[in-house]
Symmetry: none
Subunit: 225 residues, 4 copies
DNA sequence: CATGAATGAGCTTTCATTCAT
DNA sequence: AATGAATGAAAGCTCATTCAT
């Protein structure tokens, strides 16, 4: 991520030599592996170092403490995720709103599903951490990508794209996480995925007359179509 | 919750006397307080016991280990939440689908917001725990309540209520959590809440023609109206 | 000592039960032993605990960290020393100035010599510590005792007892430490002890005419006799 | 100092080339700086090397281990101090005993005060070290200088110059250190300095009749005058 | 029954020292 | 010669859990 990390979480030294870079990669990979194989409770610096095939000392040359390690892990993961999502958005510039939504849901869902164990592990690792900055930065990037895409929608214009974008993101990201935590089987997951797309599509095309009209919440997005 | 807890997580003895029940209450309350005041990392058995005004030994009479304590906490919290949600559902039997959705979103959102610090603390505490059983049980209860309510919808019938219900729950619960984690200000939260209601309403009223049609995911819910 | 210790150095809990008190004593005694047998560099919490026959955990119940341990040690030692010195002073109320000085030097020297290994060990242990408060408190007590005694001198009155007292203390304490650090043999030590007494006596009886008269330093103590 | 250092403390190679000497100087200077800026506990080889602008590896070329580094530092400091003291002594050959004493006290006090932070830092650094040899050697040099000077005293002769010299040195050095450790303000320090001079002067001029006469310690110095 | 002192495995982190480059 | 990445023993400290009182 391009979120400049809070100083206390930044890595101790950026790897300059190829060798060092390999080391850092090995450590981060080992972190995931330990997380998967043993769970957060057994995610100890010693174990990570051993699994990475380096000494604790070496690990501490690159990560000033455990938190920094986990931070880096999340950072990397989110950076990849963000890139994939941005690519997906860019690819659908000019498409219909429905296509856009479908693309975003699928991109996100696939990215998370691909290695669902890693996904789950990272969700849990975040508890060890003050990762608000990271999440905020990710949200900003996603928002920008989404807004950029929605602005090019072939079939409509929305007066409150800002709000629509924020909502879509919260709904999609939230739902995916929830589904993950329910540990549903593939079929059930696929079912909900389809429904989610449907729901988002309906939302974007929903005529104003359906709007909830209770206090304060009704300044709704105008229809895109 | 009525989820029979995994044997290793069950409290050592069910409190039968009033005195014991008071003690258990004090301990659970203390747990929340420590969680709020000091964070998960400082949530230790000793601290909880001290805050509850009992000795560690006594605490271990009621909770055979730390996990059981946190389990009980989550159990209680979810039980209350479930009751509130069930009540909300029951209250809207016979209403329109749109009213139902609005009621559910609002009930859940309000329950979570009421003491958002506690909510967040509990979200975090869950990491210490294998709470899958708990979540599953909660999901089942919510599902039943939702299904029961939807079946009475005054303005329609749905051929795949099962799937609609599961979807609505995943979306609503997921979105709320996501919004919580973004730490948005009140206004932004209210905005998304409104949009979420809109979205769900649109979903329930969406005509079939908008359905996504990609493999396996298109066995969509037929319109309710 | 009655110096209220800086909060970060104070013991975690005061031993209330006899058992606990025994434990604390054992730990402090073990600390000295380790200090003597292995040197400061090997004075580790684990080693102390093992030698004391308790677990590290137990040790940390009474001393929140290593510094607190060393602090307590010095505190105890200085308390005993202070008492002995005060007793010696009290015993010579009404004596001649020469007798007083001799008594003070001898009392201090004897106290230090009695277990010279402990003395040396403690001198060294102090480096691990911010013991300024302790030293200050000790100095104040000594000053009070000294002043109280000098005021009763049978053979004279001094216009600047304050300064004389401070000087005597600095000289006596300093010299003893210096002699200790030189690691002289018994004979040489005894020799210097005698000379020190002589010197102090001479100082108290010195006629004004010998006073150094260079800038600012000559506001000398008037003769006692 | 010309104390042949214990073999395990000697620098790995004596710097012969100017370049090497510069490096050694830089390292020693860096050591002091780290000591002052960070305290003994943070005096690490890496930090010293970085501050000196060399690599750890290079540093280990000159100092086989940390102790050797600190040893060299103390050696240098004591060498300079010894030279200054010797100069002061030489300068007062033929003076009166009183002038001599005053000169010695002032020279020592000034040397220590000039950079009192460095003084204190070095006092503390010595704990890391077996510096007995160093101290002994320094004592010998001081003794020689003192004896040489006292022998030329214009106003008297002393039958036990040896003992007088040893006493004066112990008293002066000890008192100065004690004053340092009390952390007194300038005024109080100056006051005691004056009194110390007075006391030493009185000692040298003290008539035999005041001598302490308790066993073994009374072979006192006869008057100089 | 209730207490809380005692336990000790196990955690994170440091740092003197080595040695391949 | 110079470098600095890598090492790993060892430090200080925590905390869930037990059990004698």
């Amino acid at each position: 991520m391009d979120a400049t990390p809070p100083p206390h979480l930044s890595p101790r030294k950026r790897p300059r030599q190829a060798r060092a870079s390999v080391t850092v990669d090995a450590i981060l990979e080992a972190t995931i592996q330990v997380l998967l194989a043993e769970g957060i409770h057994r995610l100890t610096t010693t174990r990570v170092a051993r699994r990475a095939g380096v000494s604790v000392g070496t690990m501490y040359q690159y990560f000033p403490h455990k938190q920094a390690l986990i931070y880096a892990l999340n950072e990397r993961y989110l950076a990849v995720l963000a890139e994939r999502m941005e690519a997906a958005c860019k690819l659908h510039h000019g498409a219909t709103a429905a296509q856009m939504v479908e693309a975003v849901v699928n991109a996100y869902w696939d990215a998370k599903t691909e290695r669902s164990d890693v996904t789950r592990a990272l969700y849990r690792s975040a508890v060890e951490l003050d990762n608000e900055a990271l999440i905020k930065a990710f949200a900003r990037r996603m928002d920008a990508a989404m807004l950029g895409m929605l602005a090019t929608a072939s079939n409509g214009r929305n007066v409150d794209v800002q709000r629509v974008s924020a909502t879509l993101l919260a709904v999609i990201f939230g739902t995916v996480r929830n589904v993950f935590e329910q540990n549903l089987d593939e079929a059930a997951q696929a079912g909900i995925r389809g429904q989610l797309i449907l729901m988002c599509t309906a939302y974007l095309g929903a005529p104003a007359s359906l709007a909830a009209t209770r206090g304060g919440r009704d300044s709704r997005a105008r229809k895109l179509a």
